[in-house]
Structure formats: structure tokens, C-alpha cells
Subunit: 569 residues, 2 copies
């Protein structure tokens, strides 16, 4: 601590001067001893000066009857996924008591490289919470990806000096880790001694051991208690994930409770949680509430949301209430409901009723669809030998089914019988790479749907039942410089522009949500089944690491065999 | 981890090559999950490659029936205190299962500054254990000390690059911390972000808060459960001490057990433990055994001795058994007795029967008594006003009693009625400073006793009943360049030379111990009561921070008033 700062704060600690703020008579949750005791908490210059029974402050707030805890920590999330600007998500989640976010700007980096990371850092500089960044480790995600930028160890190196860059982000290339990919291991060495996040949902025992051996320290992909325990036994800290799509908490927590496992090596994360879900259920406080309901002791659940995560990431002044700790403090009235009534970040009270600020974005990042308008000819799909490989969409899973359908030979396949054409168009470097294929169980009819949000490379993905509307949809995405669009019978029905890297809107959450709901409704009217979320489903169709078959700008890809079926690019 | 190393070890992890060593079928204690499960543990290149049921090794050792644990960690100790060379102590304690030592070379630094620290680092480089060094923070201990060297922040700075320098050693100058001494805070800032050890046995509530606020992270001076809890509540990690002199374990552990306090923020240390005590009772395994006996669950006690300490000091590859962790492994047959049967450091088995090596010491460090022979005239002590301040020695305490005795006026006091003369003679810089006083309840008669071990400045301390023998004793210490001596009626009875900085012998433990026991016996015969340990008692008489009265080379010092009674220097 800076000397002058120490001198100022210690005067409050020693009772010689008034604090800036004293929270009076709350029930302080002590994550070091598991005690709850009633005391005053004194804050000076954004830092906890002392906890006792005699502090006076310039401002004093009566906290009697409330539980006072350290602010919660989301150990792993992606800010880009909600399609709003980073500060909006952070501010809304902070209102639920999450005061620290460990973010991985994997999507931004895939589009705009280090400029995308700089954007996330800059946008969250003045947010009412701590936002730390893990350097995206796998950009591009695979060797067969056509993304916007390659993030090499050399490009990462200057970021080691940035105080908000904590470590290396989720290392998804687990074969690269386990079997010693040189370029990837360069990155691991670069971040040696710092936190390195993992992503390994399906590793076998000895491969998981090799993954840990390489220095991977966390994982948030455990979906079962047994797998989580396999990780913890190998020294891997498990972030129990409960987000919009992934619901892993119940399975893991039930096992912990049943088997009396200590919670030291577990934290919480959301990974991806949409704003509408946060507004309805809460954020990390939802994970805490659920864990307590399933039998974790309240203070243990609070520790998982605070000190455990802080220790995991070496954040020494976060995650506890004690002298010298940052005054990130939250309060609630019930250790069952965990409805957060008060949030303080660096000793400043968060105004939960004010709308979060939408911060402007620089020009370059709003100009990332580097593609000239296309003609319908790019969607021509000849069929020979009367068969075609078809992507079978499964409404309940992120995985797809690889089927082979008998169809008539043709110079250009025309979709019918509920099938659609699907295409992925490279949009970062204007390479002209276009992959075209057929998908089933999506069912759009009389038009096309397109998006620039398409994991992990975020090329343009489009599905339709005719080439003309597919071209209109793609050209509309180009015009808007990214977004979601829906085309019906030759005309654009509506477009949600996502001009920031083709991933985010700067129109504000309520505007985005209103338009999105209208477009989703229309998409269902055009034939997409109710159980299929039109745009999220679309966003995974080009992801070549999830089984069984995907479309990429280089053509159809057999994930299980890890090779192209029909290389066109 | 280095890439080539990863490639080599991962082949073992993945079952493609044989391990160097496999410990077969032991009961592995998992400090992450609190489980104990039977498995093989494979080691390659000194690192744990994997834990499973199928490993093969070039060497295999049957461990059936034994408990396999991570090597224990002594969180705080001083190697100099046993008077033998560092490698001897480390090797003997390693035989009891302590494979990591967090040492504070406070004594060596007080005599020889950074050269003393370099000595400790060098001597332990090839020891069969990890020896990490905390930079001594308070050298000299106070402004009124006459020691060998001032260790400023500037002198410490180059050591930040040394991988075995972990952080800042016990900050004993607690008023300096609490009330903002600038030079001390410079050191705290220099080590910001690294571990900073405390030493604060008696701080009041808000002073303890200010101590924590300043960034002090640990303390090993808690003697009661209540005080330990006051520290833990403030985020201070408590090292529960059980050494030769201090026995704090029972009081603290009983409280932990009674109040169901989690053990996360507790570790173990010895601080000072003599080799004869280690050989009789054990080292950190003794702390573990005692804790279990008092009701701590065995795996929790093991965690306190391993992962808790490793996390406290940021030692990421120590304190657990998992892939990538250093193969510091110990075994025992009972989780009650904790008699350690096997010790491996970096995968190499410690030969418990071989004698520890005594490593040679360079010339400069064996020439640290910079003082010309003295005459008896330096001990002249006039008495005016018929009174004298007397140091009352208390056999059962390190504290002394400040009494004022009525004596006859004289130009040079001659001891009688069980009183002695006591003197402290500056020996580092030949300043000629000599403080002379009177002490009671030590009782040597017909001679003198002297030592160059005298906390914290390690000047020469001498007690006798006549000036002639006191001069002979001091001159013998000068001749031997440090040590313990005993003089009877004008002749040196015997001397234990401690030529290494005047603190340690390089003659080997058994030689040292034999001579020491003989001299102690004789000292008691010369009148020192059985309950007074002659040399250890002597070594605290010049320590001006422990109440109530001390002798320093500058004269008698009233510790309570923190001022000299009779400044002579």
C-alpha cells in the first residue's frame, strides 16, 4: 500500500479520524473463521479501515439486521455474449452483488485481436466493479478456422505488464496441451506463475493428468460431480457453472454435500448469462442461493463466491472483509434468498435504479465485416452420386447429428421437405471462402436468416430455403457491419445491428431485447420450431470442435474424424 | 514448466514410458478433497507424473499399508539458532518429514548483513529439502542497537530476483508498522505482492488492524486461541508454533477444535527447535501428531502442515500430491503417531541413516569479532547515591524484573550476595562501546561466563562475579572469534567455538552437543541455578525490546520507558 494512503487510512483504523463511511451494526460474515458477528465496518478511500464497535464516519448507514459480505466474484465469463456493451452487463450483474468479473474476451479477440481485448479493458475501466481479463489462449480456436487474427505468444507478451490482465484464458485446445503443441506451450510458459484457465469437459483420466501437469489450474466445464472430483484430485480448481445455457450446479453441489467434500477448491461462474436471465434470477447470488438450497452451509457458499475465487486468481485484496481489503461489500436480509439489497464497490454505493451507461466505441471496431456484396451464385450446391451429408440440428443439444441423405443429382440443390441450405462466409479478410451445405430440423421456409455471431471465428452464417434470400440476408449483414437479420420473400423483415465487431450493439439493452424478441417471433412464424432458439442455434453451426458435423467457410467438416468432407475453400 | 521437461514427464503420465520411480499401492492422502485412496504414484524427473493404478517404474517401492502424504512445511524458523550449520538442521528435520523450510536468517543478517543471507542460501542449495528465505526486515532490530549491518530497502532490492527469496521476514517493529515509520514502510512497499511475515504478540485490537492494513500477512507469535482468532479475523494467517522454547499449539488447537473453526488459515512452525529436541520428538510431524491428539481430523492436520502453508507462501508446486507437483513425499504407518518412515525430496529418497554433511564456510564470515583484547578496567562500575538498577533474571520467563537495590557507594562495585556484574561489549565495528550493570538470580560465583550469541545484535555478553575473569572470558571469545566460554578462577574452563558469524559451529552437531553439555554442567556447579539455562538466558539479556530492563553496549536500558537509564556509550 502506498505510504500516504496507509497514513490516511490508519488514522481511521486507530480511531483518530472519522471514516468516509461506516456501515453500522450489520452481521458481518467472516470468510476466514466462518463466524458471523455484529459490528461496524469503517471505510476510508475505498478500503476497509477496520471492523469494530466504535467507528464514526462522515456518512453512516444503519445495517442492523442485514448480513454484510464481501462482493461476489464471477470466476469465468464472456462479456461479449449478451450482445450489449461490456459496461451494461457488468453494471446489471453488479446490482445483484457481483463486484468482480474474471472475463475472457475470446470472441472479441477472434474478430479484432488485441484491439478487441483493448476494447474490453477500456470499456470496463470505470465500471462499478472490478473487471479482470484473462488473455484468450486459443485464437484462432483451431488450425482450420478462418478468424480475424492470430494471437501468438509474442502478441500477448506486452499485456503481461497490464495490471488487469490476470493470466491465460480457457485453454480449449486440450489435445494441444496434452500432446505438447509447441506454439500453445509457448503461451503456457509465457504465463507460468500466473493463473491459467482450462476448458476440458471430456478428458480421460491420464489425459486430464497431463492437462494438469502442463499447469492448467481451473476448469468451468465440469458437468458432473464425478468429473469435477477427477479434476479437483488433480489440483484443478473447479468453477461451478450456472448460466443461461449451462446448468451444472445441481449435479456438482449435490455430490459435494452427499460426500462431505470440503469446498476449498470450488468457486462459481456464469460463463454466459443473458441479461434477461440476470434480471429475473440474479447473477452469482443465484449460484449461492441454489447451493444453499441444495445443502451447502451459507458461509461455505459465500466462501465459494468470494475468498475461494480471490485466492484462485491471486487477488489478495478481494474476497474478504478485513483491514486493507478493497471495500467491495454487499448486503442481504436472508442467507437463504440472497436478494442483495446494498452493493458497495470501492466504498461507493451502487445506485441500483439508474440505467447502466452505454459507452461509445471507436470506428475501427465498428467496421469488421470485410466483404463485398455477394451474389446468389455463391450458394450453388451441386449434388453428385445422389447423396449429401446433412447437418442434423438437435433442439436440445449443442451437438449435431451427421446424416447422409439420398437426394436427386442436380447442378444446384433446391431445399425442400423441411431441409435448408446453410452457408458460412469468411468475413474478416475478404478471402472469398464460402462453405455451403444442407441442414435438417431448422425448418425456415420462404426466406433466410443470417448472423455475424458464429463461434469461434464469427464469420457470417446463413440458413435459408432459397439462394436469393440467402444473398439478401448476407448483404444486409454486410451493410449493417454485423448483426442478426431475417429475410422474407426477397425483403429484409428486420435487422438487429451488432456493429461492434459484429458481436455487440451500442443501442442499449432494452432496444436490443425488444427488436430481438420481435425477430425471434417472426422466425418461428417462418417455420423454425419453438424449441429451437433461432440465432443461438445458428451461432454454433460453424464451430468445428463440437460433434458431429459443421459448416465452415472451407466446407463441411466431420468433427469426429476431424477432417473436411468436401473441401471447397 | 519447461517444454522438454513436459514432453518427458507427460510420456509417463500418458502411460507411454516407465516412470523413474513408482510408489505402489500406498494410501494417498488427498489434501484437495480430504479423501484417502489407494493408488500408485509415478515420479519422473523429480516431479509427480500421475496417480493411478497402472504405472510402471524403473524402480518400484511397495507402499501397501502406508499413508502417502506431501512433505511437511515449517512455515517459520531460524536456522542459526541451533548453532550447527544450516544443512545439518535441515537434513535432520527432513528425516522427520519436513521437506520445506521457510527460514528467516535474522541472526546472520544482524552480524554479516547480506553476506550472512548469502551464506544461508549457499549452504542450503543442495540440501535434501526446499529452503526458502524471507528477507530479514528489522536489521538492526531497533535504533538503539549496535549490530553489524543495516539492511535497508535498497540493499534488499537485488534479492527480489532470487527465486528462493520469498518475501519479507517477520516484521518485529510493530510500532513502526502501525504508526508509519517511513524506512520500514519502504521495505513493505518493496515486497508488496509477496508474502510478508509478522511478529506481533501483544497488539491491541485497532493496532492489530493497522498492522494487517499495512500488508502483514502472517504471524507465529500467537500464544492463545483468542489472540490467534483476532489475527485470523483480520486476514492474518497464523503459524501455530511448537518449538524448543515456545509451546503454543495446545492452547490454539484446543480452541479451534472446541469452536469448530475451519483450519484454512492455520499452518505450523517451529521458530526455534534444537536438534536434540528434533531427534527426540520430531519436527513438524510432532505438531501434526499433537494437533490430531487434541482433536483435529488427521487430514486437516496434514493440510495445515502442507497445502495451507504452500498457499500462504504462493508455493504452487508444493504441499499436495498431484500431477506437476514436486515429488516431495513422505509416508507413515499411523495417522496418530505420524512416525515418518520414508521421505522423498524431488523424487529422491532421503537416506535417514547417513550423517548430515557439514559444509565449509568462507573466511570472512569466520572473522566477525572485530575487537581488540580488553582489560578488566572496562568493567569498572561506580555507584553513587547508594542505589543501583538491577536486572532481575526470571528462570521461567524471557522477561526480566527491573529492581532498584540499595548498595554502598563505591568507585567500582564488587559483586556479592548472589549478585553478578553483567556487561555487553560491541563487537562488530570496534566502537569501544561497553555497557556494565548488575543482575540478580543468575548466581555464577568464582568466575565468568560469556557468549557471542546475544539477540538481536549478537554483541558479546558476559556475566561474572569479578572483573578479571570477565575480561578473560571476553578475550577468549575474541580469540575464538565467537562462541560460548566459561572461566573459573582466572582460567578458561572450556570454550565452544562458534566461529561462523559468532553464531554457529562447523564442528558438527555431536561434537557441539557434547561440549555444550559439559560446559552447562560446570556452569551449574559454579552456582547458576538448575532451572536457568546458562547460555540461552544470557543470549536474551541484551535484547532491548523485551520487558523490563536490559544491558546494551550503550548502557542499561529501561524497556518499559524505552530509554536508557544510564547512557554510557
Amino acid at each position: 500500500m502506498d505510504y500516504a494512503l496507509f497514513k490516511r487510512i490508519s488514522k481511521v483504523t486507530l480511531g483518530k479520524e472519522k471514516a468516509d463511511l461506516v456501515l453500522k451494526g450489520g452481521r458481518i460474515v467472516d470468510v476466514f473463521t466462518n463466524e458471523i458477528h455484529t459490528a461496524d465496518l469503517a471505510i476510508k478511500d475505498g478500503i476497509i479501515a477496520g471492523i469494530g464497535t466504535y467507528y464514526e464516519g462522515e456518512e453512516e448507514i444503519d445495517m442492523s439486521g442485514k448480513y454484510i459480505m464481501p462482493g461476489f466474484i464471477d470466476s469465468h465469463l464472456h462479456l461479449e455474449s449478451t450482445m450489449v456493451t461490456p459496461n451494461e452487463l457488468v453494471t446489471i450483474a453488479a446490482g445483484c452483488g457481483t463486484t468482480t468479473f474474471i472475463v475472457d474476451p475470446h470472441e472479441a479477440a477472434n474478430v479484432s485481436g488485441t484491439a478487441g481485448i483493448d476494447y474490453i479493458l477500456k470499456q470496463t475501466e470505470a465500471s462499478p466493479a472490478n473487471v479482470y481479463v484473462m488473455m484468450p489462449s486459443c485464437v484462432p480456436a483451431t488450425d482450420i478456422d478462418d478468424n480475424g487474427c492470430e494471437l501468438t505468444a509474442a502478441k500477448m507478451k506486452p499485456y503481461l505488464k497490464e495490471s488487469r490482465i490476470l493470466g491465460l484464458g480457457e485453454v480449449m485446445n486440450d489435445p494441444g496441451v496434452v500432446y505438447g503443441d509447441k506454439k500453445l506451450h509457448e503461451k503456457l510458459r509465457l504465463f507460468a506463475g500466473r493463473p491459467i484457465d482450462g476448458h476440458a469437459p471430456f478428458l480421460a483420466g491420464d489425459e486430464l493428468s497431463a492437462y494438469a501437469l502442463a499447469g492448467i489450474m481451473t476448469d468451468h466445464e465440469s458437468t458432473s460431480y464425478d468429473y469435477a472430483m477427477e479434476e479437483v484430485r488433480r489440483g484443478i480448481h473447479v468453477h461451478i457453472r450456472e448460466g443461461s445455457a449451462a446448468h451444472n450446479l445441481e449435479a456438482i453441489v449435490k455430490g459435494i454435500v452427499k460426500n462431505h467434500i470440503p469446498v476449498d477448491n470450488f468457486s462459481f461462474c456464469t460463463d454466459d448469462k443473458h441479461i434477461e436471465d440476470i434480471l429475473r434470477d440474479g447473477h452469482i447470488n443465484y449460484n449461492v442461493r441454489r447451493a444453499v438450497k441444495l445443502g451447502i452451509k451459507p458461509v461455505d457458499a459465500i466462501k465459494m463466491a468470494t475468498i475461494n475465487a480471490a485466492r484462485c486468481y491471486g487477488l489478495r485484496d478481494l474476497g474478504a472483509l478485513a483491514p486493507g481489503y478493497q471495500a467491495d461489500i454487499i448486503a442481504c436480509e436472508s442467507l437463504e434468498r440472497f436478494d442483495i439489497t446494498d452493493v458497495f464497490h470501492k466504498g461507493r454505493r451502487l445506485d441500483k435504479d439508474s440505467s447502466p451507461k452505454v459507452l461509445p466505441c471507436d470506428g475501427e471496431l465498428k467496421n469488421t465485416v470485410h466483404l463485398s456484396p455477394v451474389s446468389k451464385d455463391i450458394f450453388v450446391l451441386p449434388i453428385k452420386d445422389k447423396t449429401a451429408h446433412v447437418i442434423g440440428i438437435d433442439a436440445s443439444q449443442i451437438t449435431t447429428k451427421h446424416t447422409i441423405k439420398r437426394l436427386g443429382n442436380t447442378d444446384n440443390y433446391i431445399p425442400k421437405n423441411g431441409l435448408n441450405k446453410i452457408a458460412a462466409i469468411e468475413r474478416h479478410k475478404g478471402t472469398g471462402k464460402v462453405g455451403v451445405g444442407i441442414c435438417s430440423h431448422y425448418g425456415i421456409s420462404g426466406g433466410a436468416i443470417a448472423s455475424s455471431v458464429s463461434h469461434d471465428s464469427h464469420n457470417i452464417i446463413v440458413v435459408g430455403d432459397n439462394d436469393e434470400d440467402m444473398a439478401i440476408a448476407v448483404n444486409e449483414i454486410i451493410r449493417a457491419q454485423g448483426g442478426y437479420t431475417l429475410v422474407e420473400k426477397g425483403k429484409v423483415y428486420d435487422t438487429l445491428p451488432l456493429p461492434i465487431m459484429g458481436l455487440m450493439s451500442d443501442a442499449g439493452f432494452s432496444e436490443v431485447n425488444k427488436k430481438l424478441q420481435r425477430m425471434i417471433k417472426k422466425a418461428h412464424q417462418m417455420g423454425i420450431p419453438d424449441e429451437v432458439e433461432p440465432y443461438i442455434t445458428l451461432s454454433f453451426m460453424a464451430l468445428p470442435v463440437i460433434a458431429e458435423i459443421r459448416i465452415t467457410p472451407r466446407g463441411l467438416f466431420d468433427v469426429n474424424a476431424f477432417k473436411f468432407i468436401d473441401k471447397q475453400g
